[in-house]
Symmetry: C2
Subunit: 136 residues, 2 copies
């Protein structure tokens, strides 16, 4: 199976497949003409990687998950640990974004958005941060 067909089958861009080989995540064979020759197991791995990436796992996590996937002596605890850590990271990101969102929404709300130059958004950006203000 050549790279184009694999790309369609696994839903992973051609460029990305070559990159994954570069970093050692997959090791396709080579035909006499120099073309990469993918086995079913390679396609399987690429699908696996595509799904893991879609869940936001880092390349390092993907590598670890793939290794566990191929290791018959793995424990589900190892897999769960990686997923749990990633879940925590996602929670942290959501928390951060939600805080940003709140501040930003407040600013947008408070801005008239008309033809006058006065703008609480700019005022807020140029003033000291709220957490720096004295006790009130």
């Amino acid at each position: 199976m050549n790279i184009g067909a694999v790309s369609k089958a696994a839903g992973v861009p051609v460029k990305t497949i070559r990159y994954y080989e570069d970093v050692g995540l997959i090791r396709p064979l080579r035909s006499d003409n120099g073309y990469r020759s993918f086995r079913d197991s390679d396609v399987h791995k690429l699908r696996f990687l595509g799904r893991a990436r879609a869940l936001g796992f880092s390349m390092a996590d993907c590598r670890a998950l793939l290794q566990l996937y191929e290791d018959d002596a793995r424990t589900s605890a190892e897999v769960r640990e990686i997923a749990r850590n990633h879940l925590d990271e996602i929670d942290q990101k959501i928390t951060d974004l939600t805080a940003m969102r709140a501040t930003l929404a407040e600013l947008v709300q408070s801005c008239a958005g008309d033809t006058r130059p006065d703008c609480p958004i700019l005022v807020s950006l140029s003033q000291d941060a709220p957490e720096d203000r004295p006790t009130d």
Copy 2:
């Protein structure tokens, strides 16, 4: 004012300040010895940039906001437009992350996390995506 003092005053890393000069966001003067010499207005701009970045604005947005900030003929509508678009992007990110989180949390929950190799997380990653399953 030299770059180190400015860095402390504005809360922006030295490297980042030099980078901001590179991309034309600030234009500090130069002393005879070649050192950057920052005016109060530069420090002010750096604080502004630091806060805008902390709210997740892109460099392009920061550039635009800074220009509006310095433009007496601005309208608050222009500022609000940028902030609103950014708010939408944040909302999109939160939506995406929340979906990821839900899937991931389900998987983590369903995994025993013990010494056995059986793991629904790996099974899910290696199987077809949920949206590909036939009508049920």
